[in-house]
């Protein structure tokens, strides 16, 4: 097995729902969906975000979109106009999740990403 960041095999988008953020995590292929479905758990997401998520994390599966949806409760410092955070709407949480590492088989072929910048 080798470790890759979710960025290599998935897309994401996040937004706010009150004081919770949500992150949609979309696999780039059916094979990648099997990997994220097994590897990216509610507990794992909560641990990954550390102190940012003060509440629980809910998780929903959408096999039709090769996607998972996460709700990060109590993660926006009050949310809406109450929050003092620079990112009061969790717009950046999706990018944060793509930094999580998961294990894939050694022969797992990563999607072609020729236009991607070096750093």
């Amino acid at each position: 097995m080798k470790k890759v960041k979710l960025l290599e095999i998935a897309h994401s988008r996040s937004g706010d729902k009150g004081d919770s953020s949500n992150i949609g995590l979309i696999a780039k292929s059916p094979e990648a969906y099997e990997i994220i479905k097994n590897a990216v758990t509610s507990e794992g997401v909560k641990e990954h975000f550390g102190g940012i998520v003060k509440g629980r994390v809910d998780r929903y599966e959408l096999p039709n979109l090769l996607a998972l949806n996460f709700i990060l409760h109590d993660s926006l410092g009050g949310g809406g106009s109450q929050s003092l955070k620079n990112d009061a709407q969790g717009k950046t949480h999706g990018q944060g999740l793509l930094l999580m590492s998961v294990e894939v088989p050694d022969d797992f072929e990563l999607p072609n990403d020729e236009n991607r910048p070096e750093i």
């Binding site: 994401s12 949609g24 959408l62 979109l65 410092g77 109450q82 990112d87 950046t92 944060g96």
Partner: protein
């Protein structure tokens, strides 16, 4: 079944979106409907506050500016507009639009106005009639915040807007309606969908969800941004909707951006709660039923959407005043930037403590280091510069104001290499908290009227 689709484009995802997008959609190729979405939850409280100071305001004034530019072309091309620009002052929005039409020499235009969402003045009556309006998240009773309420609006569905179109409206102006309803209404009107056609209503709702954030389905906010061509000329989304509930998401030829399964899926999951239970006033949608299919370049076909009967309640968006906040920032450069930023924060908080200021909440963020993602990534050992962002929240306006006076002095009486304070002192801003509630549909009566100007 009609074989020709209707083309619904969304040129505005929120109040503050691209000012060019509506005109580019009108001029870039054929469309039948243009939707313009201006309202976020907090927007309603801002508009009520504007209206309380000036009774002619409280609607999305951008809308009138947009219409000034495109109104004649809309009439000429037969493009209809559906918008929530009315905010909390439909009458003034209508007056401004009428005035604009007159100045442009237009006449005979039918304007549909959908009202009944604004229940601020009706709260006591509704509470007397059995409405509770408890906070649907916390369960707390409305009495706790009753005196601090600044806005209260019901999220109306698509049916009333469809009715305005049925009555011949060329332009439909609503207040607080669901964002998704703006796109669903034209489908109900053109295809004659009934309020019990749940799968069809669900399909139109999904189309509305994909459209509602403007370019967020056409390459905006897209994970693989390096693959997105010509962001500067990004195309805004267009749905080609068919009578059977299937639809294609596309954009005008020659525009930038991209549409693929991932761009659509990213937007489908934007601000999503429980995907199998997406509740609107029109229906309940199961996002687990959606099927995506490639249909040529920058075209995705969406079908298979399943829905079920709507609930017997409307959601109510209430905003209430909860105090003041302010935030400001300093840029700290050069050697030991992070250590200096931490020292600056320490100094400012100490000075405020010495001045006797106490706050319900404070925040200290280091932009450029970890403000977005905490300690997900290891900290860099050294950065060239960093932005220190501080914030406070409290009921005591004087304390919040005092906070704003403590940032600039650091430039001359703190550590060296501090800049970036050209914007003036941060001023206290009113904070309006969001209070979501439910109300029996029977207690709310949406109203539709169509006037010819």
């Amino acid at each position: 079944m009609r074989s020709e689709p209707i083309r619904i484009a969304n040129g505005q995802g929120f109040w503050g979106d691209s000012v060019d997008a509506p005109a580019r959609l009108v001029r870039g190729g054929p469309i039948d409907y243009l939707t313009l979405d201006y309202l976020a939850e907090v927007t309603m409280s801002i508009m009520q506050r504007q209206k309380s100071k000036n009774s002619k305001t409280g609607y999305a004034s951008d809308f009138v500016e947009v219409m000034r530019e495109i109104f004649p072309e809309l009439i000429e091309k037969g493009i209809k507009v559906v918008t929530n620009a009315g905010g909390v002052n439909l009458d003034s929005c209508f007056d401004a639009l009428r005035k604009t039409a007159k100045e442009l020499g237009l006449s005979g235009v039918k304007i549909g106005i959908v009202s009944g969402d604004d229940i601020l003045e009706r709260l006591d009556e509704l509470l007397g009639n059995g409405a509770e309006l408890n906070n649907m998240d916390s369960g707390k009773p409305l009495s706790e915040i009753r005196k601090d309420i600044v806005s209260a609006n019901v999220y109306l569905g698509a049916a009333s807007m469809a009715e305005a179109l049925d009555q011949g409206a060329d332009i439909v102006i609503a207040g607080r309606v669901t964002d998704t309803g703006l796109a669903l209404a034209p489908m109900m009107h053109d295809f004659g969908w009934k309020v019990t056609d749940y799968d069809l209503l669900a399909a139109g709702t999904v189309a509305g969800h994909i459209l509602e954030c403007g370019a967020q389905s056409t390459g905006g906010n897209y994970t693989r941004w390096w693959d997105v061509p010509d962001y500067a000329n990004i195309g805004y989304p267009i749905v080609e909707a068919y009578e059977d509930g299937s639809f294609v998401l596309t954009k005008h030829e020659g525009t930038g951006g991209l549409i693929n399964k991932q761009s659509v899926s990213e937007q489908l999951l934007y601000e999503m709660g429980e995907p199998s239970n997406y509740i609107t006033p029109d229906c309940v949608v199961d996002f687990g039923s959606i099927e995506l299919e490639e249909d040529g370049a920058d075209r995705i076909r969406i079908s298979g959407v399943k829905g079920s009967a709507a609930t017997d309640t409307y959601k109510v968006s209430i905003n209430h005043f909860v105090g003041y906040k302010a935030s400001g920032s300093l840029t700290i450069s050069g050697p030991f930037a992070v250590a200096k930023a931490k020292k600056c924060a320490e100094i400012i908080w100490k000075r405020l403590e010495n001045a006797g200021c106490k706050f319900e909440e404070t925040s200290t963020e280091f932009l450029g280091l970890n403000s977005s993602h905490g300690d997900i990534n290891p900290m860099p050992e050294q950065v060239n510069e960093i932005v220190l962002r501080l914030g406070v929240r409290d009921n005591d306006k004087a304390a919040v104001e005092r906070f704003g006076k403590e940032l600039a002095p650091l430039i001359t009486n703190g550590p060296p290499g501090i800049t970036g304070f050209a914007g003036g002192r941060p001023r206290p801003k009113n904070i309006y908290a969001y209070w979501p509630a439910l109300i029996d549909k029977e207690l709310v009566k949406p109203e539709v009227r169509v006037e010819t100007i």
